[in-house]
């Protein structure tokens, strides 16, 4: 039997092209090449499958040109005629995860080729695509590559062969919302009582119906009179005073910073920079107003369009930062903003 033909999608980083300075790398087809994590997949496939080509695309390029990048990559996949398409794994890289989810679900839907990706459960690509394409749950950094490949390779082979796919907890993919009817050995009443007894005894138990987490916050009323409003700037783009006095980490930030901008009318290359390690810092370092628009806000303040620009701004680095951390920082920031009489917030993200 001939080997299953696989096309693999990776970003500029895993293709060894470069980091953020190369994130605007357009989609590129490399027939016959096995690149980076593709080697681990090939090894795990053994005699059953092989990678016949790799597609590389920069994360920023993909996300800023979603339609074109998707169309171009679909065309490349079509030319190589694989039996299976694998994207990533993307771990906790947000733009990479969104790219993997987008392209894997597009290949599956538009070309009818079974597809698989993998990422960390907090990656934004999960909420967007987990219901559209199989997504293996991985660790949050590339240190989890071996574990990811070990789970992805067998599932990928099953998909390519059209074999039945078991439940998410057996196969290791992120629950996709599909429910399958089957007969349990024990009846419901007994299972419920067993679960209750475990709960009462403080032991671990697994619910059969996890409650969906609908965490939406209703919009607050609009600002009535801008000319009297005190507006604050907050950013996840890592803008800090030059030298990064609080040592905010370039990824997985453990803190946020509060910075006084009293009298500051313009952020310059000499005074401010970015601490963010998840995008090309050249533009923000040259002029941080491109991320945190202090110059324009000062003009609007002077012209009386807004009442006042709050004299403190808040910044953290939203690069691989845990959702729980971001939540805690923002709750504390909001408390301070309210205590200072701020009426509304402009939050910028990169």
């Amino acid at each position: 039997m001939s080997k299953i033909k696989v096309v693999h999608y990776i970003n500029q980083f895993f293709a060894n092209i470069g980091g953020e300075e190369k994130a605007d790398y357009p989609a590129e087809k490399r027939p016959g090449e096995v690149v980076g994590p593709g080697m681990a997949f090939n090894a795990a496939f053994g005699d059953e499958a092989e990678i016949i080509g790799t597609i590389v695309c920069g994360d920023t390029y993909f996300n800023e040109n979603v339609d074109k990048a998707t169309a171009d990559i679909l065309e490349m996949v079509k030319e190589m005629q694989p039996d299976l398409f694998i994207a990533g794994p993307a771990f906790n890289a947000g733009r990479y995860g969104v790219a993997c989810g987008t392209i894997a679900s597009a290949v599956q839907e538009k070309l009818g080729i079974p597809s698989l990706t993998g990422m960390y459960v907090e990656n934004p690509g999960v909420d967007m695509y987990a219901s559209k394409v199989y997504m293996v749950s991985t660790k949050n950094s590339a240190a989890g590559m071996r574990d990811a490949v070990k789970k992805m390779a067998p599932l990928a082979l099953k998909l390519a062969k059209g074999e039945a796919i078991g439940a998410s907890c057996e196969e290791g993919y992120i629950p996709n919302g599909v429910r399958v009817n089957f007969f349990e050995e024990e009846r419901g009443s007994k299972r419920a009582v067993d679960m209750l007894l475990k709960k009462l005894a403080g032991k671990a138990y697994t619910t059969e119906y996890p409650m969906p987490a609908f965490d939406r916050v209703a919009p607050n009323p609009a600002v009535k009179d801008l000319s009297k409003a005190k507006i604050a700037l907050v950013t996840s783009g890592g803008i800090v005073p030059k030298g990064n006095p609080d040592h905010i980490e370039s990824s997985s930030a453990s803190k946020f910073g509060e910075y006084d901008i009293t009298g500051v009318t313009d952020l310059t290359a000499d005074t401010y920079e970015t601490a963010h390690g998840g995008y090309d810092p050249v533009y923000a370092n040259a002029d941080a107003d491109r991320v945190l628009p202090v110059d324009v806000m000062r003009d609007l303040e002077k012209e009386g369009v807004i009442g006042e620009l709050h004299n403190k701004y808040y910044a953290t680095v939203g690069n691989g930062t845990a959702v729980a951390s971001a939540k805690a920082y923002a709750a504390e920031i909001a408390k301070r903003l309210i205590a200072d009489g701020v009426d509304a917030v402009i939050l910028t993200s990169t």
């Binding site: 800023e64 939406r216 919009p219 907050v234 909001a334 903003l337 917030v345 990169t350």
Partner: protein
């Protein structure tokens, strides 16, 4: 972060390039930005034009803050 600030009771507008992520994290007022590494700028323009572009985006964000919304809204224009 946007959602937690909103939860605390402050109206907040999110300026970001990848708006689907903003929708996923639950921002209510969203203004699409220019590009990931320079959301409120464009290094291809001269300083004056670039500042004008930034001002337009900030004005759009302020308009979003003064607009009542009932649901997640992307302010395209």
């Amino acid at each position: 972060m946007v959602k937690e600030i909103e939860r605390a009771g402050l109206p907040v507008v999110h300026i970001c390039t990848v708006t689907p992520i903003s929708m996923t994290v639950g921002a209510n007022r969203i203004v699409p930005a220019i590009a990931i590494p320079h959301p409120l700028g464009n290094p291809a323009l001269n300083h004056e034009e670039e500042k004008k572009l930034r001002r337009k985006l900030v004005e759009k964000a302020l308009r979003a803050l003064t607009t009542e919304v009932e649901d997640q809204t992307i302010f395209e224009d």
